[in-house]
Symmetry: C3
Subunit: 138 residues, 3 copies
């Protein structure tokens, strides 16, 4: 990972082979960032996307490979006192068709370019029994 | 709706069952926000998306249900002196396929997490006869 | 193109018939913007999208017409001292199906509404031999 700080924004480049969630979480911990939002574009070698079945309260996962990242949108909050990333990904394959879902993990292809903006204060998540997910508790 | 203000940004959570456009418009009116932009992720129980036929100058609508919101991008301006939301939505179904279009309305599923940033000054829309839509008049 | 400056952000409207990359590049040059990020929504009459084949180190292009722009995400950096746009586009057709990829060029349909935020300092790109692309060098 390479990055450049610009006031409250970070321009971040993830390198080929890096995994998004673990790399970003490490970065957030080191920078002590507890509330932020980000967007990005690039490409992935592999990605695991989730569709949440609200009735069954569980994710169904599917793996994809060799795709452009046409949209990465996410936010950062605290879960049990640690930075937690919630992100949704849209990828496109070699037919330009788009697939999307909740981002579980993804390994970078050519590059991933992210702009992350810090938000002041803290935002926390708590487990919501009705929904079955850790949701923002604002 | 829950929200937390952070300087000129708002972190917003829409709750299960809330309708996006009406809830956000109510919020914008209460906060006296006349110019802003936002992005978000989450899920919808229902959504109505539009494709604009430029030759016929009319939208064609289609309803979708039970999808992830993989990308919500929009802006806020004034139309006839009132906050007006223009947003496009990308949703993904349980096959991870993406569908997109102009957001008419949508009812939240598990959650919807939005970051909205105020812009200083005013941005207004006016009806454009050639296009047939209320467009930004900057 | 019309635009309105709001501190470090620009609200930009591209008009029917304008080409995105050339119009934005001209704007960035005139405004002396060397580092920024942006997002947008609207519609295109035509767009050329690329899928990068990392093994062959080349883009495969495909042309699309008459689509909504459901997500435009990009950034601005310097390449050889000049503003360079890297953007990925997601479009949806009259069946609401989404197509995405690296944005080569696109001609605006009804409108394109962009919010562009300047980043302080400089971000530069350099050619990366392993990847075969001009990547951020932070």
């Amino acid at each position: 990972m390479q990055y450049r700080k610009s006031k409250n924004a970070f321009l971040i480049r993830l390198m080929k082979g890096e995994e998004i969630i673990s790399s970003l979480t490490k970065f957030l911990t080191a920078q002590k960032i507890s509330s932020a939002y980000f967007s990005g574009i690039g490409a992935v070698q592999k990605a695991t996307l989730g569709f949440y079945n609200l009735k069954k309260k569980k994710y169904i996962w599917r793996k994809f490979s060799e795709c452009e990242v046409v949209s990465l949108i996410g936010n950062v909050s605290l879960l049990n006192g640690k930075p937690f990333i919630h992100a949704h990904l849209v990828i496109s394959d070699n037919k330009y068709s788009c697939y999307g879902g909740h981002l579980k993990d993804a390994v970078i292809g050519a590059t991933l370019e992210i702009v992350l903006k810090k938000l002041s204060g803290k935002a926390e998540r708590k487990f919501d029994r009705e929904i079955g997910l850790n949701l923002l508790d604002l």
